[in-house]
Symmetry: D2
Subunit: 354 residues, 4 copies
């Protein structure tokens, strides 16, 4: 299969199909509606099922139901719709069910607009619903990376029995790039020994539930969840660094903001400035290691976000006051330009001789 | 009015009535159902309106509608129900509408149980919904304090045009203590010049909305929101300290956990240990100042929570690596005992001679 | 109070207020939305409550809830919305709860259009929901008659503990006529000994329910219902006749169709034709008596309806084959003209010399 | 395929599968839940789709959606659930969409109970929803007949583009009898030239709608519908007679009541009484012909129903006063016994010498 030119939202959808996802439940919302439309057409072709739910709340609960049978299942939405799914996500975590949930972030808060944003960082990384939990969050910055991370997301979901979030933004969803898919192979769905597929009169019923009225028992379950979160932190952290070894200053950004920041850094390097880059790919677990490895040496960090400053808090937690952490962001659907970021770098670095 | 013995949930309700709240929209969920039941009976007595909505989502949107007319309005729920309100809360923030939202936290994640917990800290302090926002969060630790903070919550809501969260837990909601209310006075509802109460053919319609399709305009609105958040941080931080001046170690806790921790600290002090206490009353804005004031001097902090460790993150952000920060928590509805906390203190302080 | 010029939908609403109705639950649908809007403004003025429900199904169930407390309560809708209420109406009958339900009929079936029609005759008279039941149906033909029949409807509802239907059509709802209301007096709401208003710890709880799992017991309840229906048939039949004594042919029609038919009959009388008129005012119970009184004498009946022929079935049941029964109708929102009806009369009477 | 012993509800389901039905949307309600459960398991086996809707209203609207694509689709419910579908049925009629709707009638009105009844006769035969319409209603009285009539129902639905109702009752649904199915053959689904299956960029979109805002145009559509109803009356009437030729008295009954009445008639015949039977199989169109053929000759008719008297009205319309029409019924879920019916026959026939 050669390269094909596709829209980001469609790439997520096709990547999910390639990853063996046959079930989609969702409700259309801009700027991710192409994903829903693609699945409506595509899933029947692979013997799957697409269902447009009557609401975002219904969609996430249908995901819960399907996930309980052990199949690969997903939903997708954009910011307001994602907020409506918070209760359902907490239930998926509590019942330890694997699923993929896509958030193609748009400008907020409230109705906001349909332009790209990264202002849902807290809601996806801190456990936007109730109870002590986190979900792995994968943040691609190119359409090709979407393909890899969508498959990885389903694998992580199955490996740890957890919902996983793929975090995009309106720009990633709407942009077109050439991408290359592997040959579509008939994946044998994994047999899951916990799945509730019916006993057919043979054996004890399996039970999937997040209810546990006894406090001690619920604490035990929470301890197991916390152990799982620790394992995920140990095994699943993903990030990319660029010339951090000799860097005086390190820019950090993810997703669309990272693409643009990278251009600014390249220009700064050409101008003789020693600027490095840390690009978190998993937002939770947050890649603390590259910060710890550099914090005693660099003169400062700059977190660039399409938000009023959210990831910067995780950067500060990783840096622990060992170096100054600055922030630059645009909000409301405004995408920062390469020039703006370059200017921020210059300002940070105390000017440059040109 | 002398002292009366009441349940915490009822105290919240009556305190809201005293604060001039005449409208309640909600959906019953344990362990806060007494609040709903109390309002159903009480509000008609003061010429108000109680409405049990068809769902948590409906309830928060009814709050949006009523808040738009400028009246004092509230809803309440417990963890799963609160998660369902995340979209609505983000809309209230975006449309700058004042309202009180109560979360009587229970064990999670998922259905969990109906025992007391503090595991919704992230969801209430980080902006559990989409977009860049925070809402003031008030966390009382006694029933009498509920009365003060409920009134304060409504005042802050009106002053800044923002939803405010009152964070309780199942223990605070279910326990009984003697409380004293001020005489109920007929509060004249404040005239709000932005309220949409109908033009009656006279003057231009006022518009309340969180929609702003233009990115630059939405960024402007976000900047105004951020300014508001900064003002709230400057003016509305509340906390209580106890013998932090000479403390070697400082315990920090809020709500029910703070009540119990205080007993443990008292015992430790009797045993000659120099232990202090910082009790955040506002969780957002988080009281950084008492940590900044002590972090260069103390040997360590201990965050005690009924969660797997959430507030501890804000403590670390405030301490910035200047002193070790430990954590002790119980989850799943288990309430830590005074003895457990005392043991943690001892362990932290390196033992005590008895 | 002199005469005022009002729209039919508003007359229904104000007449209900005059009849002591203080509670309205509904959902807007053309051509009766003015009724809903009027109530939204009017009920708070008389200390009542207006609530726009989230659906027609919700509205009728809210009526059930309010009716159970013994207050005068109503809802209104138009054809598709009325169909959605069929389950609820059956529940009101089964639980023996008084309420007023207005149907301002529009063209059907399906979405149809918003023009006047009488094609819901079967659904209102035969018990459109499940189970053996009928509800009294009152069909005014002028706006002034609306005032009388609305009050009568509430009285019948209370007297027999039954939902009552007021059947209008788009023309009656939208037309304007001068009407005169009596002085609005503060009606003391009737004390209803079956109403579930709370025991306040005193006495046995009253129970309102349509559930009766035991077949013999449910049959007993059905026998009581049938007795009630027989009493209503004996006491509450309403109709109007016009020169039936010497009539060769009798036209029968109700509501808007009756107004227009009356003009055609007047013209026929002027032209020397002996035409009489029977105008059912209650559609159930259907006025059989004027048909029985004339059927052995007249040469024929003509049922004129804004439908494909529904009431004509009840006419045939009353006439029992003793005289020919013809039908003329227009459907789909077309209102028959005086000329058309006159032509039908001529045709029936075998021509007229002019 | 030999005989198999099955429950009535399951027979309906399997008969539908045999008739080529691959889509089921419904909501469980006793006493027809086995039908829903059977379909949930069975439809995936034949490449079909089962979906439990969020409500009865949703289910009938999903049927509308699926029917629009030309596939064979069904839903089923029991009395209260059927009432909730009235709006949707009217829409199916207005949009001329074929579908099967099963009503396994239980005792009413309201919640009633879950015992067998026939008290939904009016609601299924008179067009329980709004607008001028009827739907064909098939009423089997044995499980084997269910198989034939279910296939016939789908054929009639397709032939006339109309929803068709299969009317059972709790007894038929719950009883077990040996039945024989034909070999399941892979029915090629009929190509329907009106179905909205997507133009794929080729040709004009087809439109399915019941909306027609213009009154004249809607009247035209109603005239076409009426023509269709006339054709159905001419072609699709089904009934069974038993020894009506020499009968002094004729009993008429359908469904479960007919089974029991038949036994009573057999006994009466043995006792020398000339009793015949007319068993309507289609309730709409009602079989008037066997009544017309006998009404001038017999001494009387007896309508036996599990209701307070509904079909008896259609009997009277058919008999037109030419002979007395009596009624015997039981309600509330009570099934009449053979002895009771025999006694009624004796009473009618003026006693019998034994």
């Amino acid at each position: 299969m050669g390269k094909v030119l596709m829209k980001g939202n469609e790439v997520i959808a096709e990547a999910a199909v390639h990853a063996g996802c046959k079930y989609f439940f969702g409700y259309p919302i801009t700027p991710q509606s192409e994903l829903v439309a693609y699945m409506a057409r595509r899933l029947p072709e692979v013997g799957g099922l697409f269902l447009q739910a009557e609401s975002e709340v219904a969609a996430i609960n249908m995901v819960y139901g399907a996930a309980g049978t052990g199949v690969r299942v997903m939903t997708s939405s954009s910011s307001p719709g994602f907020s409506l799914k918070q209760e359902g996500i907490s239930y998926l975590v509590g019942a330890e069910l694997p699923a993929l949930i896509v958030n193609v972030v748009r400008g907020g808060p409230g109705l906001g607009n349909i332009q790209p944003a990264q202002s849902d960082y807290f809601q996806v990384t801190k456990g936007g619903g109730h109870g002590d939990y986190h979900t792995p969050v994968l943040a691609p910055s190119t359409l090709q990376e979407i393909i890899d991370l969508t498959e990885a997301a389903f694998d992580i979901a199955d490996r740890y029995r957890t919902p996983v979030i793929l975090l995009g933004d309106g720009m990633l969803g709407q942009m077109m790039e050439p991408v290359e898919f592997k040959e579509l192979s008939e994946r044998k769905p994994e047999q899951k020994e916990w799945a509730t597929t019916g006993t057919r009169g043979d054996g004890k019923p399996r039970i999937i539930s997040s209810l546990e009225l006894n406090a001690d028992a619920l604490e035990k379950r929470n301890e197991l969840l916390q152990k799982k979160f620790t394992m995920i932190k140990q095994n699943e952290v993903r990030f990319e660094t660029f010339e951090t070894e000799d860097a005086d200053y390190i820019v950090t950004a993810y997703g669309t903001a990272a693409r643009i920041a990278m251009n600014a850094i390249n220009k700064a390097r050409k101008d003789g400035l020693k600027i490095g880059m840390i690009r978190p790919i998993t937002l939770w677990p947050f890649p603390e290691q590259p910060f710890i490895a550099t914090r005693d040496r660099v003169k400062g960090y700059l977190s660039v976000e399409m938000s009023a400053g959210q990831m910067v808090e995780d950067v500060r937690l990783a840096v622990e006051g060992k170096a100054p952490v600055s922030f630059f962001g645009r909000t409301g659907g405004v995408v920062p330009t390469q020039e703006e970021i370059y200017d921020q770098i210059i300002q940070l670095a105390g000017g440059v001789e040109v």
